[in-house]
Symmetry: C2
Subunit: 222 residues, 2 copies
DNA sequence: CCGTGACTTTGCGGAATCGCAAAGACGGCA
DNA sequence: TGCCGTCTTTGCGATTCCGCAAAGTCACGG
């Protein structure tokens, strides 16, 4: 039943290839397309007027991106860049009214997706406001592992290159604090890593930290 | 042209009265209705499992609330309570598909509203992550004044009772820090206040703080 | 195989902010 | 009018977290 619809909807899209570090769009660009990521990983970030940068989210295969902007806003409020070679489908936003009218379920799906984005955004605000950095970082890593984790011998590796700086901008901390925490966790066997690389060695204990139990004997220093 | 539509849509709603401190709905309730606030002011807040509370936003007359939840989610992720006696219109969420199909512009409006909520939420995250408390507080007050300010002799008063604690939960600070900053601003003639009451005496200078210039000679202490 | 630039780590203060404790101040209600 | 609970203020540390500086470390291109 759905396959006819699906084919028809796919007809309207064109596919786009983003080499590593290429931009899908930039903050302030006119929002002419809505996308679905087929393969790869993208980073959505927002820059403040004062030059600070915040990572809004990482986009994984199967995710929709640019939708809210294309459907409801005029311009993209974020910049989206490929962190590995990626492939996406793009629909011109002008075809949306027709598609939505023809396939009501599509509209419902998009609405739900936006709803969950909103919920995520608010959850993040709540965490930023009520939890300390260590916990936020643990949560951030678990989330990344969950959406882009690859099983790797003794643990889960985040399946795309990510700098400490990126993690900091995603979790609401500084580069230095993230580096210190990861070092400390590495010494305890919770994580492992390297240049643009993070492996969760003991997700269970990380979850413990994320949920409140302080990393025993962390002491922040030493 | 629109008035017929409007009448027809209004037909489907029922009005509800919320006395001060009454709940429109609570976190976890099944999302059966979507609302428009006609009169009054509501506070939407979210509680964490650990007991902390965060104010998501204040709802003013004309605002839609509960929409995302009713249209896309199953349950309300926030609690909404009246801070003054309020009146709202409520639509059962099940009439939505029919309304949306009949009045496409309605769907577009709702989508745009949700889009701007998402943008707000992300902007807040960015601010929480990149700006210091003083600036965030100034922004928060200006926003409140903007959406619910009443001109008052020598300044703009926030037109509903709001505790320091609420401001803290809205701006991402603690009760103590908010109180200290407001005291300091009051000494400089930027604001005035009292029990559950805040008046912006000099919005222009507040804007200066919100945009970066540090309140001269603040010194944090004293 | 080496040089170079990007990324990471860590020491060392320093600043921002928290948060207890305790004292006021206010306002509604009996 | 007086009491009481709620809200606010402020002193005083205590913490958390930041952020410069400088020294690694790593990956890649030539």
């Amino acid at each position: 039943m759905a396959s006819d619809n699906l084919d028809a909807v796919l007809e309207e899209a064109r596919s786009v290839l983003y080499p590593r570090d290429a931009y899908a769009f930039k903050q302030g660009d006119e929002a002419k397309f809505l996308f679905v990521l087929l393969r790869g990983h993208l980073r959505a970030e927002q820059n403040t007027s004062s030059g600070a940068k915040v990572v809004i989210r990482y986009v994984s295969a199967g995710d929709v991106f640019g939708a809210v902007e294309a459907l409801a806003l005029k311009r993209y409020p974020t910049t989206v860049a490929a962190v590995v070679n990626s492939v996406a489908l793009a629909w011109p936003s002008r075809v949306w009214p027709r598609l939505a009218a023809t396939y009501p379920k599509l509209a419902i799906n998009i609405l739900q997706m936006i709803g969950s984005l909103l919920q995520d955004a608010r959850l993040r605000t709540v965490e930023m406001q009520t939890e300390e950095v260590e916990r936020r970082l643990a949560r951030t890593l678990l989330r990344l592992a969950n959406q882009a984790g690859r099983k790797e011998g003794r643990g889960i590796e985040i399946d795309f290159p990510i700098r400490r700086q990126d993690v900091a901008e995603l979790s609401g901390a500084t580069l230095y604090t993230v580096s210190r925490l990861l070092s400390s966790w590495e010494r305890k066997g919770l994580t492992a890593g390297g240049r643009q690389r993070i492996v969760l060695r003991d997700p269970h204990r990380l979850l413990g930290i994320a949920e409140g139990r302080r990393a025993s004997a962390t002491s922040g220093h030493r």
